[in-house]
């Protein structure tokens, strides 16, 4: 649990900074720092076990049946990285407090930073490879948010996008690679996979796995040719550059190389690709770094170079090289984070970080200057600092490396890279801090507040101590991590400052001299470099992205040409083709005995057919088509009656009425006829597509109907348990309100949302272009009598009857056909008929129910019924029942399901009324002042309010006028 908490703490803590920023920036920083410190403390609790060589594990089961568990494990290597992430994170948080200005939204910054921290910890602690990829992509996202933190800077946005595309694409490749790896190893657990090295390396899938995993690692760790995103990521605030883009996130690729070392390393392919790429990256980036005038650009390319160095060491595949790699990760993280922070301080205090405009800063900011110089010397690999130790170990490894049968290539290139490294390190010192004090700095530079240089100082102390006292301080930790990487194959190397005059020391000396010479010849070298044309990575990247975007636009434009008919036809054809393809094995009639043909059924069939074809033929006359359509609907509900589905028949019937009313109301505005515009060819084509679809459905359905169930239906359980378990004899209703009540709850919520959407669409009709059209509406011929007396009287007499029928259907629904859905529709119809007969204003003035509230009430009652069963310690929506004897109605089931059904009922009534009443309301706005007076209310009577005839007025009529 502890281990999962280490990972989750930063995620949980990420909500705090935006909340506490109101209390001030110090509180915000302290809160963020406390989260990280707490995670660090939790990690350190595990330290003794890790040092004893144990592997600490935590598992949070999610879908254990599918092998999906949130599993975490901690060994030496994971501990090493987790410690780096949290310790440096703490220093960065302090630094950022003083780096960010008052205008910067600090809460957001710290939230993103913690998000990143959690994701990064997740990578190094995951035991499940899929989980690892999830965290991997989360770091890419966090990095995207942080690079683009200053949203107003275009460089920030472009850099963020580039980083996301490159590392995100790499993450996808990694996912594919790890899935293949898990397939070959037979497990998603990293710990298990690590033990399957032999099997993986012997598998034919080894090379694809290797290439995909390396694509992920190389993009993340900015290896050539994917190195270009990292310098552009430097648009981020400096704390981000120091933390993500030098100390931790870009090392995730290196972590992966180390983590999978026991499985993937040790082959010729690994050696050639990984060490070759690393060496090339190391040399190219170091050369470019010399000439970068932007201090952060210089440090960015130097970071790429050092990442290449570690990659190369992992690529060599020997235990001692792996140990050197781990040690250099530690050293690089310390001196590079420190250097980035000093670059940030220079930028902050001098107002620029362009090396050409700086110089002499050591006199003006002695503390920062001294710290920067020490860290630079470590980067150059000068004795006795920590950079020297790992560089010596690197050269020692390289000097006897034979790559592709060449003995000299590696040593020469490594020495060249090391000399470039010396050159840019010294340039950072000489061109920025040494030399004469200038008088044209944008700001007057001075040392920053202690909060800004103290984190740097802590790191610089580490840089010195790791050099002088390497063995007592870091020896055990590095050996522990290296042992975890190499599965015990790393030699027990003791970290030593002085090995005597070895070939590596000589090489190192040569490199230092060469580097100093290069710096002395900086100006001519820079001119030489400027005269050569170089490929511009950013332009190439943007051209590629543009080309892909254009191709995608063309491809989708070809299918999606904004002409709906053509798109629908294509989609249908595609479905048909897929259906033909899957059905090519043959779909035919089965053995199930059929029902005998009944004459009445044939008659109904013929009626439906004629009606349907008539609609297709005369669809341009809309009113006719609508009425004939409702005939088809009636036959459908008769079909349900015929085949033992009384509930469906009732539902279909009432829905049919409501739908027809709805479409009639809509036809009030829409043109009464469709123009004849499709060519005969188009109609023929459509008829062909339609016939094919119909034929396919027929064949499929006939095959189903004549085949017996392949598996026993689960309905036997529903039938058997309906009465004893659900307390009702109408199994369909019991399924709806009990067995599958959860589905029904979801359904009424969907229905409610649809009604609200309809309300929103209609309500805004009174604004904008639609309102203009409504105002200038030209009316067709009006009916002479808009509210026929017969209809008005009949509907008003029917209303109480219909309501009673609704209640009856509702109450008996649990045992006999009926229930909330049907009762709701019946009541809805009864009410809507009043609107039709007597006009919207008349009906509205007499309705005291808010339909929105009715929908809300329905959903609330249904949910509360479900929640109620929690009070009795039962699962959601468990029902219980008893009996109640009502006079006249008979014995009534009083199940809790009845309350649930009441919720369904209310929602359905609310939905039907909200939709239809609002459509009618739009009509009422458009209708001209009635000439014949609304309904019969214009005649004063003893029971009806006299002045209620204000069909246009929304206000209730004055009583007893």
């Amino acid at each position: 649990m502890n281990l999962a908490l280490v990972t989750l703490l930063p995620f949980l803590g990420a909500v705090l900074p935006p909340l506490v920023i109101r209390s001030g920036r110090n509180v915000c920083a302290v809160t963020t720092g406390s989260v990280t410190a707490l995670a660090l403390a939790l990690l350190l609790i595990e330290a003794p076990a890790v040092i004893r060589g144990e592997i600490v594990r935590t598992s949070l089961p999610w879908l254990p049946q599918a092998g999906l568990e949130a599993r975490f494990f901690l060994d030496g290597f994971g501990f090493f990285f987790a410690f780096l992430i949290l310790a440096i994170g703490l220093l960065i948080i302090v630094y950022a407090r003083f780096y960010l200005s008052r205008q910067d939204p600090m809460g957001r910054f710290y939230a993103f930073l913690l998000l990143f921290q959690g994701a990064m910890l997740g990578i190094v602690l995951s035991d499940n490879v899929v989980l690892l990829v999830v965290f991997w992509e989360l770091t890419s996202l966090a990095s995207f948010l942080l690079i683009g933190y200053w949203r107003h800077l275009p460089e920030g946005r472009q850099g963020a996008r580039m980083a996301l595309i490159v590392t995100g694409a790499g993450g996808l490749a990694l996912l594919a690679g790890l899935l293949l790896l898990a397939e070959v190893a037979g497990s998603y657990d990293l710990a298990t996979i690590l033990g399957k090295g032999e099997a993986v390396r012997g598998s034919p899938l080894y090379l694809p796995i290797l290439l995909l995993v390396l694509a992920g690692a190389f993009t993340k760790s900015a290896q050539f040719p994917f190195h270009f995103w990292l310098p552009h990521a430097m648009a981020a605030p400096t704390p981000v550059s120091a933390y993500l883009h030098s100390a931790t996130m870009v090392k995730a690729g290196l972590f992966l190389l180390g983590r999978l070392w026991p499985v993937l390393a040790g082959t010729e392919a690994w050696f050639l690709i990984v060490s070759g790429t690393g060496l090339l990256t190391m040399l190219i980036a170091a050369w470019i770094a010399i000439f970068k005038d932007d201090l952060k650009g210089l440090l960015a390319f130097s970071t790429v170079s050092h990442l290449g160095l570690v990659t190369m060491l992992f690529g060599l595949g020997t235990g001692s090289a792996a140990l050197a790699a781990v040690f250099h990760v530690l050293n690089h993280a310390t001196f590079k984070a420190a250097l980035f922070m000093t670059a940030g301080i220079v930028d902050h205090e001098a107002g620029t970080r362009d090396a050409r405009r700086l110089g002499g800063l050591l006199r003006l900011m002695p503390i920062t200057g001294s710290l920067a110089i020490v860290a630079s010397l470590a980067m150059a690999g000068v004795i006795p600092l920590n950079g020297f130790l790992s560089k010596e170990m690197m050269l020692e490894e390289v000097l006897h490396t034979v790559w592709w049968e060449t003995e000299r290539l590696f040593p020469l290139m490594a020495v060249a890279a090391a000399s470039c490294s010396v050159a840019y390190s010294f340039r950072y010192v000489v061109h920025v801090f040494l030399g004469p004090v200038r008088d044209d700095y944008p700001h007057r530079p001075h040392d920053p507040p202690a909060g800004m240089w103290l984190p740097v100082a802590i790191l610089v102390v580490a840089v010195v101590l790791l050099g002088i006292l390497a063995e007592p301080i870091a020896g055990p930790l590095v050996r522990l991590a290296a042992a975890a990487v190499t599965a015990g194959a790393a030699p027990p190397t003791v970290l030593k400052l002085w090995h005597g005059v070895t070939p590596a020391l000589v090489a190192s000396g040569i490199a230092t001299l060469l580097g100093l010479v290069m710096l002395a010849a900086f100006a001519p070298l820079a001119r030489l470099r400027a005269s050569v044309r170089r490929p511009e990575a950013k332009r190439m990247f943007e051209a590629t992205v543009d080309a892909v975007a254009r191709a995608a636009g063309r491809a989708s434009g070809a299918i999606h040409d904004e002409r709906l008919q053509r798109m629908v036809a294509w989609a249908l054809l595609a479905v048909l083709v897929v259906g033909l393809f899957t059905g090519r094995a043959g779909i035919g009639p089965g053995e199930r005995p059929g029902l005998p043909l009944a004459p009445l059924a044939v008659l109904l069939w013929a009626g439906a057919l004629a009606a349907a074809l008539a609609v297709a033929a005369f669809h341009r006359q809309r009113l006719l088509a609508l009425i004939v359509t409702s005939v088809v609907g009636l036959i459908v509900s008769l079909t349900f009656v015929w085949f033992s589905a009384p509930d469906l028949a009732l539902t279909q019937l009432s829905v049919e009425i409501v739908t027809t009313v709805l479409l009639l109301l809509a036809l009030n505005w829409l043109p009464a006829e469709s123009p004849r515009e499709s060519s005969a060819l188009r109609r023929g084509r459509d008829a062909l597509v339609a016939a094919a679809a119909g034929l396919a459905v027929s064949v499929l359905l006939y095959a189903i109907l004549t085949t017996d169930f392949a598996l026993p239906s689960i309905s036997a359980y529903h039938l058997a348990e309906s009465k004893p378990g659900g307390g009702g004899t109408n199994v369909v209703n019991v399924i709806l309100v009990d067995f599958r009540g959860y589905d029904t709850l979801g359904e009424i919520i969907v229905l409610g949302i649809a009604a609200l959407a309809i309300f929103a669409v209609l309500d805004s009709t009174f604004r904008g272009a639609a309102a203009e059209r409504l105002r200038t509406w030209s009316h067709g011929p009006e009916a002479a009598d808009r509210h026929p007396m017969m209809l008005v009287v009949a509907t008003r007499i029917m209303l109480p009857l219909a309501l009673v029928v609704g209640v009856y259907i509702f109450l008996r629904g649990h045992n006999q056909p009926g229930g909330g859905f049907i009762a709701g529709l019946v009541v809805g119809v009864a009410l809507i008929v009043q609107y039709m007969a007597s006009g919207w204003a008349w009906a509205r003035a007499r309705t005291r129910i808010d339909y929105h509230a009715l929908i809300g009430f329905g959903v609330f009652v249904a949910t509360a019924t479900g929640v109620g069963s929690w009070l009795f310690d039962r699962p959601f929506l468990t029902s219980s029942y008893g009996y109640l004897h009502l006079p006249l109605v008979g014995e009534v089931e009083l199940a809790t399901a009845l309350f649930f059904d009441l919720g369904v009922f209310s929602t359905v009534v609310g939905v039907v009324m909200l939709v239809l009443a609002n459509l009618a309301r739009v009509s009422a706005r458009v209708e001209p002042q009635p000439s014949t007076g609304p309904a019969m209310d214009s005649v004063p009577g003893p029971t009806e309010p006299a002045a209620a005839g204000a069909a246009v007025a929304d206000a209730p009529a004055p009583q007893g006028a």
Binding site: S674, S678, S698
Partner: protein, 114 residues
Amino acid sequence: MELLFASGVGVLTAVGVYLCLRARTFPVVLGLSFLSYAVNLFLFASGRLVVARPPIVGPAAPGYTDPLPQALVLTAIVISFGMTALVVVLALRGFLEAGTDHVDGREPDREGRS
């Protein structure tokens, strides 16, 4: 009887598809209604066709048809209503907003391109 049922559903599907391919919104709405009929009948029929065996439990009942597809289709019918209502209101609003009820939201030009 099975053949009758299957062919009937097929015709409803065909008419629905044909109407959905029309150029004006109202026929498309009707087409969706037809497709709803067809789909609901199809789903219902996955419980096979049974006569005079309603799923109402009782001592005298000779047997029952499969109640589960019925329950599913019952909710499907109500949801179809919700969908039809939303589509027709959108069509209406689109017509009021754009001044045309062509499915592309603009009147076709002379070459028949919309």
